[in-house]
């Protein structure tokens, strides 16, 4: 009760301060006038009575002040006073205040937004129970695979079955492959994306179905009944979320499948990296048990496992490795010379994006540091401006702690306003960032500003206030009132110290800007090189689509593809050709080929690229020597091939490739003769090495050619629409996926491009901040030395010399900063090399460029102060003092 009354009193004192004051005045006035009345009654004369009353009462002001102290709200009131004072004085230099606030908001907002992305992608746990017990498991091979550049490969199903039968450290193991399914619906056939999976996948991930049941061990058995589990998205969008769906049938690949369950949306099983291009986009729509083909081990399957409670992934993998060694011993097909390796499922989902994420965070943090340094710099300038005021306040009796506090209040106020702005900016910035982020980043669908991110933003705000606040406060506390009052604040020692501090800060900014400029130069140059890589074929105006074969179309493939091509080329302005490997699609299956090497077989590994006779023409691949395909290269004629330059150079360095022979594994008895050499094409990707490639005419090869490439003019969407209609008319199966090549290339470089744009933008920001910082130092030092410059000019110095001196001191700052930045960038460059293509992390020209950039910044920063210095009028400068 009493506490409430006390609190109420304090609140009243704070909120109705004016009323409290006037009541105090009146109360005391009443007392004094009563005294006067009493004295008058005693016969004193009025003037004397008033004086005597005041004498008796004592100091009214002291009494009032003591009464005020009794309100116990002194601290808050002083703080309020400081805040009001700060707002007033900041309003006098709104430019600086606005710059500081927006700089804080920008830097922290950007950091927070980037941190949210990093958190969502890297740190947020997978949406499964006890996700730390989940692992992805690979087989390792003795040597690295040329194409993937790693020694990891996904196991085949028979290997997994062996693992499942043994006692490993995993309580459940499962395998799945991405597949496309042909769904027979009322509207016609449609290709949808799904996965073939074992029950272990469901068990390991531990997600319960929203309806019905998941795949069970009984479904794993060979020849089991045809069942299908649907995704929640498919169930809702295609089947209207009808819960009568269980037990109904879905015709997939011509075979009825019984619907047994629906999995919730979060059951979004990671897809394999290499197969995705041929499949329809989006998440898997349904799951079926493994097909006979996968069971037999004809395809590699992603394997995941859940470690037993209390065990670790490493320990479980060790036991699995022992088991696997036994399997290798037994000579199981597909296990020869392999080991096992496991990574946490989260790590495998995040993949090599981890480095990019940290890179983003570090570079944005660097800018935050630059911004903070710059804010400190500006606040110091503000503090210097107010040194005289501080001195006056100190002389009037303000305590040192009170002065420091008032300066601290200033920083805290700026940081607070900036922090609020930062949080707003983080929310807005994140949605902008999500649009800019490469769509190929994993787990991007789960990005949202979380509480942790918000706390991070606020933490940064507070840290900034603490970091920035003390600097000017310390300077203010050092103020010697006499000293500051005597001079006009221009030549005091503390002024010099402050300027030295500010010069140091400017140097730090330049150093950081140099680091970022170097990074931007390296990444920019690398990206430019990547984009200007010789692709080997005309990518402009090229679209592709996938048409899955059926048994019939495969049997009559020559005829089928001829018909299809003829019909496609009826679309105006379109040339069409079919192939088995679309270049730059990220896919490139190699095959063993045996070259005839002086009568002996020489085994090599090469990409077998199969195309129609107009392949080179439509793709725009030049034939260097010999000939390309001809319509006469049929199954009946002699087998021919065209090799790429890389293969020719590597295996027939004497330039005698034409006329050489080889055999493929497909048909060991048929010799194939090389009739031409074609230009190199990048198959795997822009940054990947060119592999030996053999082009075979489709009319002589026994492989599917289900990738159709259209060279077109005009609107790609319209052309693809027309092409789909053609496919619908000719093929029993519809188009499963389309792409426009330039778009696909854009997507394949989306992450490096984003990294590049990101750091270029940040470097620009850092450069701007450094420029501001340097400008501040130079402008201040010119203002400080106006008198000195006046004296020099009076003594005959030319304007040019003065200008040179100012620009020279700017250059000096820049050089020192660049030197420090150079050391930092040089020693940290190694961390960068993973992001660089065809350019070393210590590329000298880039460093020189960054140096030149910093020099330009220093000249721009020095320009205005130099002009002001040159314009100093000696007479008025000297009179001014």
């Amino acid at each position: 009760m009493r506490r409430i009354r006390i609190l109420g009193n304090r609140l009243k004192s704070l909120l109705w301060r004016g009323k409290r004051e006037s009541e105090l005045d009146r109360e005391i006035e009443i007392h004094v006038s009563q005294l006067v009345k009493q004295l008058l009654a005693n016969g004193m004369d009025p003037t004397e009575a008033r004086l005597e009353a005041k004498r008796q009462f004592g100091s009214i002001d002291v009494a009032k002040e003591e009464c005020r102290d009794m309100r116990r709200v002194r601290f808050v009131e002083d703080l309020g006073q400081d805040v009001r004072h700060t707002i007033r004085s900041l309003a006098k230099s709104p430019g600086i205040a606005l710059t500081v606030v927006s700089m804080i908001a920008l830097a922290i907002g950007a950091t927070t937004a980037v941190y949210s992305v990093v958190e969502s992608v890297l740190l947020r746990p997978l949406p499964y129970p006890e996700p730390e017990r989940l692992a992805r498991i690979w087989q390792t091979s003795a040597k690295k695979f040329v194409r993937t550049g790693s020694d990891l490969m996904d196991p085949k199903a028979p290997v997994l079955f062996e693992w499942q039968n043994a006692d490993t450290g995993f309580e459940s193991l499962g395998a799945y492959v991405d597949s496309s399914f042909v769904l027979q619906a009322n509207a016609g056939a449609e290709v949808i994306r799904g996965q073939e999976a074992t029950s272990g996948v469901f068990e390991a991930l531990g997600v319960l179905p929203v309806l019905g049941r998941r795949l069970a061990p009984a479904d794993d058995a060979a020849g089991g009944s045809a069942v299908v589990v649907l995704s929640e998205g498919f169930w809702r969008n295609r089947l209207g979320g009808n819960d009568q769906v269980l037990g109904t049938q879905l015709v997939l690949g011509g075979r009825p499948h019984v619907v047994i369950g629906v999995m919730p949306a979060r059951f979004n099983v990671q897809t394999s990296e290499s197969q995705s291009l041929m499949l329809p986009g989006g998440p898997p729509q349904l799951w079926t048990p493994l097909s006979a083909e996968v069971r037999a081990g004809n395809r590699n399957a992603l394997v995941i496992g859940r470690v037993r409670k209390g065990s670790t992934i490493a320990a479980a993998t060790e036991r699995l490795a022992t088991v696997h060694a036994g399997i290798v011993e037994s000579g199981l097909n597909g296990a020869r010379d392999t080991g096992v390796k496991a990574k946490s499922l989260l790590d495998s989902a995040v993949g090599d994006v981890r480095a990019t994420m940290w890179f983003l965070l570090v570079s944005v943090a660097l800018v935050l540091v630059v911004a903070t340094v710059n804010i400190a710099n500006m606040l110091t300038a503000l503090g210097l401006k107010r040194q005289r005021e501080m001195a006056v306040r100190a002389a009037l009796g303000a305590s040192r702690s009170r002065l420091v506090r008032s300066v601290f209040v200033e920083s805290a106020l700026l940081a607070g306003v900036g922090g609020v702005g930062a949080i707003a900016l983080a929310w807005g910035g994140l949605s902008v960032l999500l649009h800019l982020l490469p769509p190929t980043l994993p787990r991007l669908d789960s990005v949202a500003v979380s509480w942790g991110v918000l706390a991070c933003g606020l933490g940064l705000t507070i840290a900034t206030a603490l970091l920035v606040g003390p600097l000017p406060a310390l300077l203010a506390a050092r103020t010697d009132p006499q000293d500051a009052m005597r001079s006009s604040g221009r030549s005091t020692t503390s002024g010099r110290t402050a300027n030295r501090v500010r010069a140091t800060l400017a140097v730090a900014e330049v150093a950081l800007a140099f680091v970022l400029l170097t990074g931007a130069g390296l990444l920019g140059g690398s990206y430019w090189r990547l984009m200007s890589v010789e692709r080997g074929f005309e990518t402009e105006g090229l679209a592709a689509m996938w048409v899955n074969p059926t048994r019939d179309t495969y049997r009559n493939r020559d005829e089928f593809s001829e018909t299809m091509r003829a019909r496609l080329e009826q679309i105006p302005g379109v040339r069409a050709t079919a192939m088995n490997h679309l270049p730059l699609s990220g896919l490139s299956a190699g095959a063993n080929v045996y070259l005839d090497h002086n009568g002996e077989d020489k085994q090599i590994n090469a990409i077998l690229s199969i195309g129609q006779d107009n392949y080179f023409e439509v793709m725009g691949v030049p034939i260097i020597t010999g000939r390309g395909f001809k319509p006469g290269d049929t199954r009946k004629g002699p087998r021919i091939a065209v090799v790429n330059q890389t293969l020719a150079r590597k295996f027939w360095p004497d330039g005698n490739a034409i006329g050489q022979r080889f055999r493929t594994g497909d048909d060991p008895n048929a010799w194939v003769e090389v009739v031409g050499i074609a230009g190199d094409i990048r198959h795997k990707g822009l940054a990947a090495q060119i592999e030996p490639t053999i082009h075979l005419p489709a009319t002589q090869a026994d492989r599917e050619i289900n990738e159709w490439v259209l060279r077109f003019r005009g609107n790609p969407a319209q052309v693809l629409q027309r092409a789909k209609e053609v496919v619908a008319a000719v093929s029993p199966l519809p188009v499963s996926r389309t792409l426009i090549l330039e778009e696909a290339i854009g997507l394949s470089v989306a992450i490096p491009r984003f990294r590049t744009y990101f750091i270029v933008g940040l470097a620009g920001l850092a450069a701007l901040l450094a420029l501001l910082g340097m400008y501040g130092v130079l402008a201040f030092s010119v203002a400080q030395r106006t008198r000195e410059i006046g004296v020099r000019m009076a003594l005959g110095a030319q304007a040019g010399e003065v200008v040179r001196a100012v620009i020279g001191s700017g250059m000096k700052l820049a050089l020192v900063g660049a030197g420090i930045g150079l050391v930092a960038a040089w020693s940290g460059a190694g961390l960068f090399s993973a992001f660089l293509f065809d350019v070393g992390p210590r590329h000298l020209a880039t460093y020189a460029g960054a140096l030149a950039g910093v020099m330009v910044i220093s000249c721009v920063a020095a320009y205005l102060p130099a002009r002001r210095a040159a314009g100093v009028n000696p007479v008025s400068a000297l009179k001014d003092e």
Binding site: M1, R2, R3, R5, I6, N9, R10, E23, R26, E27, I28, I30, H31, Q34, L35, Q56, F57, G58, S59, V62, A63, E66, C67, D69, M70, R71, R72
Partner: protein
């Protein structure tokens, strides 16, 4: 007229609380009443009366309201709160202990 003796340290609170326990009074009235009731022996320094009143109000022993008064104009009248009455009892109790101790000492020394 002999000069009223200074107040013993710490007794001002007791005097104020005791003075107004029957009826609310303004600052002037409290000062006068202390002077009169003590037979002109005790006098409150005016400079210390008001800070003390404000402190007691702040601590919740007193409430203050502006009301018409015997001075012919509204004045700030202080009254005891319920907690203030308890506080007065505590103060009286400790004062009695102190004064009897002092008397005992004087009598027996």
């Amino acid at each position: 007229m002999p000069k009223p003796s200074d107040l013993l340290q710490g007794t001002l609170d007791l005097l104020i609380l005791q003075t107004i326990w029957q009826e609310p009074l303004h600052g002037w009235g409290i000062a006068k009443k202390i002077q009169v009731l003590s037979g002109e022996v005790l006098s409150v320094g005016q400079g210390s009366l008001y800070p003390a009143l404000h402190r007691l109000e702040q601590q919740g022993w007193l409430t203050a309201t502006w009301k018409d008064s015997d001075l012919g104009r509204p004045a700030k009248l202080y009254a005891l709160t319920r907690e203030g009455k308890k506080q007065l009892e505590r103060e009286l109790h400790s004062w009695k202990r102190l004064s009897s101790a002092v008397e005992l000492l004087i009598a027996s020394a």
